[in-house]
Symmetry: C2
Subunit: 261 residues, 2 copies
């Protein structure tokens, strides 16, 4: 049965992806290059959420506040399904390949910067109850969730964390969570399997009103000033990875649920 | 019939994306948040190409020379199907929304930088005959193709080009094509519908051996020195968009076929 379903799935994918775009006659011209299936020219409903997600992940779409209503189900399926996990695995594998080939000084100053939410810990249990980002962000409700300390490990990130430690790279957590969430964050990290770290940097009130790019760039610069070398930097938001002192290489994990500038 | 196929397609997608990952038991835990469909835990063959493409488009995978052999069909279907077109449309719409809201000086110095290959012109007829990037790059064969002058307009880019001109933004083409390809490129652009431009910048031999990031950053800096303001910058390669003088905002079009550093 599962095999039959998969066969139908791939037949359907083949048919769907080989159809021309409804936007003009141009892709039909392209289709001359390969044989045609189906009648072509039909819009495939729901596909725009795929394009929306790609635009988000590539930083083409910025400054958005909620997932489009019509994409709530799409984002939910993505986050709960295997694709999110597989997308993450390809990226963390790439990250470790970089770490492994990088010439480490081995003096204890080689570090890797991890963002926390949706990078190290998953708040999916919260977002699953709040429309996967389709509901407007509610800081009261979200902070209540944070204080439960029940965020889950992101399994591919946990693997990367362990592998980095095993080759002598130290880990710094750099999060937009506030200083008053230090204890619960620290306990949550430990319960999720992240037992040691060089530093856990939370956003102090002095950064209130500043962007994540500014806050994170400033804190990374401080790390470098202390002699640390940022071998890699991983986050789910482009604001974790843009700005200054970004590290030797940056890695963007998927997150179609929210945007932080 | 088409409707039935689509129904089967979405049923199959729903089933496939709601399955747990084969990598561990972790996603099954997540599935408690929503009802389960299917038997779960089965790997969906071919899905890794989706992850590969996402990693490429997000600049997580860099420095690769060919599309993985097992992804040739996947990339071919993507490039020839409607998804490539729809992904591009979301990005060019976003680009124009940016241009429209940007406060233009209106002194003829507001420009938009377009890369050429796979941004303005499509070489898909060539790549369709060369494994969609799965064959190693052959500069002789590719340059022969360039000299035919038969590259096609990318329809969403052409629309963006026209809309930008209509609000008074001038267009600069900045391409990695070499100076000796000026005439054929110029004719090809015109035949494809791009009739006017402020500048067409090709790679002079003085940049030989330099990266695209260096070449394009240098040329953009020269434009700024001449008083131009780069309102936007669009390309299919991250090397079109990284570096310096990148412009007020950058836009990354899809290209899973090749990588230029």
């Amino acid at each position: 049965m599962a095999s039959l379903i998969l066969q139908i799935f791939f037949l359907a994918v083949t048919l769907a992806t080989s159809q021309g775009s409804p936007l003009s006659h141009y892709p039909l011209q392209m289709h001359l290059l390969r044989s045609k299936w189906g009648s072509g020219g039909h819009h495939v409903p729901g596909m725009s959420c795929l394009s929306w997600r790609l635009a988000v992940e590539t930083n083409n779409k910025i400054g958005w506040s909620t997932v489009p209503e019509e994409c709530e189900d799409y984002v939910g399926h993505y986050m709960l399904g295997s694709q999110y996990r597989e997308d993450s695995a390809v990226i963390t594998d790439e990250a470790f390949a970089h770490a492994k080939t990088f010439k480490l000084a081995g003096d204890g100053k080689d570090i890797w910067v991890f963002d926390v939410d949706e990078t190290t810990l998953s708040n999916l249990p919260y977002y699953a109850k709040h429309g996967f980002g389709a509901e407007p962000y509610n800081s009261t409700a979200f902070n209540q969730w944070v204080f439960t300390g029940e965020a889950l490990a992101l399994p591919e990130s946990l693997k990367l964390y362990r592998k980095l430690l095993s080759i002598g790279i130290k880990v710094v957590f750099l999060t937009g969570r506030s200083e008053d969430q230090r204890a619960v964050t620290s306990n949550n990290l430990k319960n999720a399997g992240y037992h040691i770290w060089e530093k856990l940097i939370l956003k102090s009130s002095s950064y209130s009103g500043k962007t994540a790019v500014f806050y994170k760039s400033s804190e990374r610069a401080k790390l470098e000033k202390k002699g640390y070398r940022i071998i890699g930097n991983i986050g789910d938001q482009w604001s974790d990875l843009l700005g200054t002192s970004v590290g030797n290489r940056t890695f963007k994990l998927p997150d179609p649920m929210y945007y932080i500038s």
